[in-house]
Point group: C2
């Protein structure tokens, strides 16, 4: 066979869906910020030094002993029964309403897949979690942004919007939101659940950080309020997603969805086509850790992140110019900085890198653009001395940028 | 909050995509056939007694020691670099052209996602792998079936079709196909690659079983022929999918895609939205097993399946009525039975179950329906005595059904 002259045009053969996908802006930035000397507040990585490494080693061993070859065989799409049982018990719902997924990211992808038709209106916070936009984007949603403040989504604005705009779905991260670190007020949660219920809008509650509260008091989840509002697990219009990535370890990719039975049935079909099932051994490893290691680990992570957030906030208050605003998270991994309106955090990142400090510009977190003067800082994986040096360097960067206009 | 009267109508809120999904016909059948006394030739499970359980245990331990917390942290979307390197070396291509996926099923889903727009023509074998249909179906393909015989796809028919029908994609399992066990002839492979190249049709070569040949001689892969035909890894119109599920173990969900750079770039974006990355530890475990355990394991599985296929074929030839046809696979896990035209294998399954033997009816493997008188038998996970008893019972079932019309 002789090579042909006209090579195939791969780009022309991509689906409409593929044309809607983009390289993650964050991912490209993270590559730049991974030089060894850089103190990075950019990534959203859990602190690896806190991982229960030996416990995972023993759990893998125990699971292989307990289940033998079944730990390495194909398994059910719905997930490892003891893991589903445990999650169901914690949530006070039947295991049948729990679907195990390969990381929360898969949960968002499968929900987008079964729910979003091209042109469907999806309500998102401004700003919102970038990974959700990436999951939903291929399915062709029309995003409408919900204004937010320190109490989370502005529910008056939501009500005004729902009066005029038919929406399919509302996506929210109510606890210690990625990227802002903000938490949705308890009273607003009730109104949000009532409003969406009344207008027939599904809610995806993404809650990877809820367990990592280090100050303030927990509010009920939207899912719990949905149960209360609708009266039944199988009519609840709130879908709940959570994960073991932030409480145990992310690399095993074990997460779950709680939803009404008709949605679970469709999720199972979608997951069969997407990856058949979440790796068997990984589900068994997590199951071995649930009773003993998980609660201890949550306590460890909570304390560490609380300490780091406190240090970061103290240094910010000392080092940043007065007209820079920032959030004070009660948990999770992130806080959010708002520079004076005329500044551009993407441009400023180059200056920051010359001082060996990195962050993520805020723009990519806005579904409809904007937020050029905002940025996200992660305190989860930097040590206290790194936080001090990094925030000092960032303060200098901001002042320099302010001075030079 | 008081429960509302009109619960949300979940079905009305599903996407167009979700409406195209169906519960797997096989999955429902497998539930019926999993009663303890039933000898099941229905599932497509690798033989669990051959799994390298202790080797996986040691590999998990070694990976956790070698990589520490990095084995449990988030990792790159493209995959674990040493694993990609090894696959690239085996295939004689750069690691950059290898994408790790969470089981071949995810590979098919991501390929469907980035390639199939609604209404795109996808050419499939008749019959074809049901799991591929499940992955592609949500993306709205228009299937056109390619006739097949004992040498695989009829390439004359393919040529006639391509002259009149613009197609986006051809999906094929050239080695020991699921469900038929047939292998595509070497000469037909060349013509298939030339024809699809000339007409600008992408080829997805799904090859989970290629290493499991127990008789006959291996033909070059479509991917290799595509390299030869196009002259370059980045213009090759053949995309290759394979997996460690059938050679090592399925439960870790480690598989890969080889493709031209523009497709890899899109696959990375799609995978970011789908599950961020394949579980880190799982990729490291497989990497630990590549040099030593994998070749030994392939030899073990090959011999066992060769022996089981031989026993099944011998008993079929002794027990089945003369007008029943069946394939003689040279590898893999399946063979295909064609009953007389007037028989219905779905109806007959009930009779078979009363004799405690199970199989999968052939119909679901046809994209456009038909094949009511065909069925798939798997010999991979039954012991030789089970095969003897099961085939005897199935022979009786067929004769009884024939007698009673």
């Amino acid at each position: 066979m002789t090579p042909v002259r006209s090579p195939i045009d791969f780009t022309a053969l991509l689906s409409d869906r593929a044309r809607r996908m983009n390289a993650s802006a964050i991912r490209e930035i993270l590559k730049v910020t991974q030089q060894p000397d850089v103190i990075s507040f950019a990534g959203g990585l859990p602190a690896p030094e806190l991982f229960p490494l030996e416990e995972v080693r023993r759990a893998a061993d125990a699971a292989l002993t307990r289940y033998g070859s079944a730990a390495l065989q194909y398994s059910t799409t719905e997930g490892h029964p003891p893991l589903r049982d445990w999650i169901g018990r914690q949530a006070g719902i039947p295991a049948a309403n729990v679907q195990i997924v390969t990381g929360s990211q898969q949960g968002l992808d499968l929900l987008g897949k079964i729910l979003i038709s091209e042109g469907d209106t999806v309500l998102v916070e401004a700003p919102t979690y970038l990974g959700a936009l990436q999951s939903f984007q291929p399915y062709g949603p029309r995003y409408v942004e919900l204004p937010t403040d320190d109490g989370g989504i502005d529910v008056d604005a939501l009500e005004a919007l729902l009066r005029t705009t038919p929406a399919k779905l509302l996506y929210a991260v109510p606890n210690f939101q990625n990227p802002t670190g903000r938490t949705l007020d308890a009273e607003r949660r009730r109104r949000l659940v009532e409003l969406t219920g009344r207008y027939g809008v599904l809610v995806i509650e993404d809650d990877p950080y809820g367990q990592l509260r280090f100050s303030g008091e927990a509010a009920p989840s939207l899912y719990e309020l949905g149960l209360e509002y609708t009266g039944d697990v199988n009519t609840n219009h709130v879908i709940y997603c959570s994960s073991f990535s932030k409480t145990l370890v992310p690399g095993l990719r074990d997460a779950w969805i709680q939803a009404a039975a008709p949605l679970i049935a469709k999720l199972v079909q979608a997951k069969q086509g997407a990856d058949l099932h979440t790796p068997t051994l990984n589900q068994m490893i997590v199951t071995e850790l649930l009773d003993d290691v998980l609660p201890r680990q949550i306590e460890t992570v909570r304390q560490a992140y609380g300490e780091r957030a406190g240090i970061m906030l103290r240094h910010i208050s000392e080092q940043f110019p007065q007209d820079v605003e920032y959030t004070s998270p009660q948990g999770g991994m992130f806080l959010w900085v708002t520079l004076p309106q005329h500044m551009d955090s993407t441009v400023m990142l180059q200056r920051a890198l010359t001082r060996n400090v990195a962050y993520v510009p805020g723009s990519p977190f806005f579904a409809l653009g904007g937020g050029h003067h905002t940025l996200r800082l992660s305190y989860s994986s930097a040590t206290p001395p790194q936080i001090e040096r990094g925030i000092t360097a960032l303060g200098e960067t901001i002042r320099e940028a302010l001075d030079q206009g």
